[in-house]
Amino acid sequence: MRDESLLLRHLSLLLVAGFVLVPLVTVAIGGFKTMGELRVNPFGLPESWFPDNYLSSLFSQRLWLSLGNSVLLALGTVVLTLIVSTMAAFAFAQIHFLGKKLLFSYFLMGLLFPAATAILPLFIRVRNLGLLDTYWGVILPQTAFGLGMAILLLWGFFRQLPEALWDAATIDGCGYARFLWHVVLPLSRPILATVAVFSLVHSWNSYLLPLTLLNSSRSYPWTLTIMDFAGEYSTDWPMILAFITLTLVPAVVFFLVAQKQIVAGLTSGAVKG
């Protein structure tokens, strides 16, 4: 009886793992096949490994350009999110000022609705600011829509810091800015990492905002380039599969290296919220 349920448990886990992994592995291997072979043998290993699809993508400017654009967008979003939300969350947690509650709820409103609700006016606004088709035109709205969550997470951490810290700092003649920089930030590395990972993953994978706010393919992040690529090569699946696989490599590697931080970063909004 006990053995039976253990076996059942392992079988179900393996089944679900197959549901997750088979598509990914098939795609990665499929990139090594010719079109003719893919048609008759989509599951198994290729009879002879055909590297041309991978090589032509690896040596294409397109792949690297789009990954580079994604890096820039993500970098801008993460850095700006960290700076702006840390300052705001610090003020909410440590400074007593008029209208605090009201302003705090104002930011929390941002958690209620996604960017899609305002995507058309956002397009008009970014265009009127002259930021259409620029990195900032994507980074600024992207950061703005992530602020609610970032401020909430940081505020939850900052307000738990012992008050004695601030008392000691004032005795030493330390102002708010120096207190934040020299005392609070060094103590806050874990939560800063959490917020950074959260905003990094969302920026890396974001699609609707860049799709609407960028229009020249030279500034496309990988999410847009991969769609163009799939459109152009429409039925040349091995070519598309190789390209997809290459664009996924950074995310998979990053996930395997920093798994703990990533899981914490992506679920903390749910677990602590």
Partner: protein, 312 residues
């Protein structure tokens, strides 16, 4: 955040001078806070709050986005929207995504969480595998599954041929295509919810489960009367994320079906994109945005009122 009052509390305590000093301190604190809050407030107002307000405003105009909106059409965009058959099917599809997320994905996630929560090397590996799709971009996920479902080269086609059937072209079938989207949604997001449950399960004290076992509770009883109530905070938050996430589903749809065939698989956001943004129907598209906004905010407020605020 109770926030101690910034005004001098005990009037009797201070001389007028001291009071003035405190008021000055409060003012200077507010000024400092203002400095810290200015960038966030500016960004948030410019790129989140104003666009939402503008969406409401634009939705009463017929406007192609050039110049300023002048062609006031009243409720016309909303009338067009609610009499639009494609929008009706997009709304139905979106509700299907919500339903599948809640009724299929969450129980699956909970069941798997129970299986992998107890730790050990095997469990850690399975957790990693199950969470992986959540980290991969939606667009890539959609393309991967477009390949899997492809009637010529895909896995489903190969499996069908191996069993002696005609390979189905699921993505080209207006009745079937929506189910492919639902499958991909489960594939992409169940690991996220599983992780929320794993975190919740690990917070349940071991003694509690042991006590239930000693009292002779069956497995089902201990699940129903011990684990489930203790896990309820995690479940209700994952329901929240599930619904709000489903309402805005877009990224998976575009690579998989693009809303087709014959507009059968649109979601609310892909409908907005296709009929609002790409055709520069700013007024009409904004009306879709407003409806989505009301759905999200309405759901959140009701859910908060009745579920999140209830006593644990």
């Amino acid at each position: 955040m109770s926030g101690a009052s910034t005004l001098p509390a005990g009037v009797a305590l201070g001389t007028a001078e001291r009071r003035r000093g405190r008021r000055r301190a409060a003012l200077s604190r507010t000024a400092t806070a203002g400095g810290f809050l200015l960038p966030a407030t500016l960004l948030f107002t410019l790129f989140v709050v104003l666009p939402v307000v503008e969406a409401a405003w634009y939705s009463f105009y017929r406007w192609n986005g050039y110049g300023t909106p002048t062609n006031w059409v009243g409720w016309r965009n909303y009338e067009l929207l609610f009499s639009n058959a494609v929008f009706a099917s997009a709304a139905t599809n979106t509700m299907m995504v919500v339903a599948v997320s809640l009724l299929l994905q969450l129980p699956l996630a909970l069941w798997l969480a129970m299986l992998v929560a107890r730790g050990g090397r095997g469990s850690t590996i399975f957790r990693t595998i199950f969470f992986l799709p959540y980290v991969l971009g939606e667009v890539a996920a959609g393309l991967i599954w477009r390949f899997i479902f492809d009637g010529n080269v895909g896995l489903i086609a190969a499996a069908a041929r191996a069993l002696g059937f005609e390979p189905p072209f699921l993505l080209a079938d207006p009745d079937m295509a929506i189910y492919t989207i639902l499958a991909v949604v489960v594939w992409k997001y169940f690991g996220f919810h599983m992780m929320i449950y794993v975190a919740g399960l690990q917070d349940i004290p071991r003694e509690l489960k042991e006590a239930a076992a000693i009292d002779g509770a069956s497995r089902w009883q201990s699940f129903r009367y011990v684990i489930l109530p203790m896990l309820w905070p995690a479940i209700r938050i994952s329901i929240f994320f599930s619904v709000v996430g489903s309402l805005q589903l877009f990224d998976v749809v575009m690579p998989l079906t693009g809303g087709g065939p014959s507009n059968a698989t649109h979601t609310v956001v892909s409908f907005q994109y296709t009929f609002g943004i790409t055709r520069m129907n700013i007024g009409f598209g904004s009306a879709v945005g407003v409806v989505l906004f009301l759905a999200c905010v309405g759901f959140t407020l009701i859910y908060r009122r009745f579920v999140l605020r209830e006593r644990d």
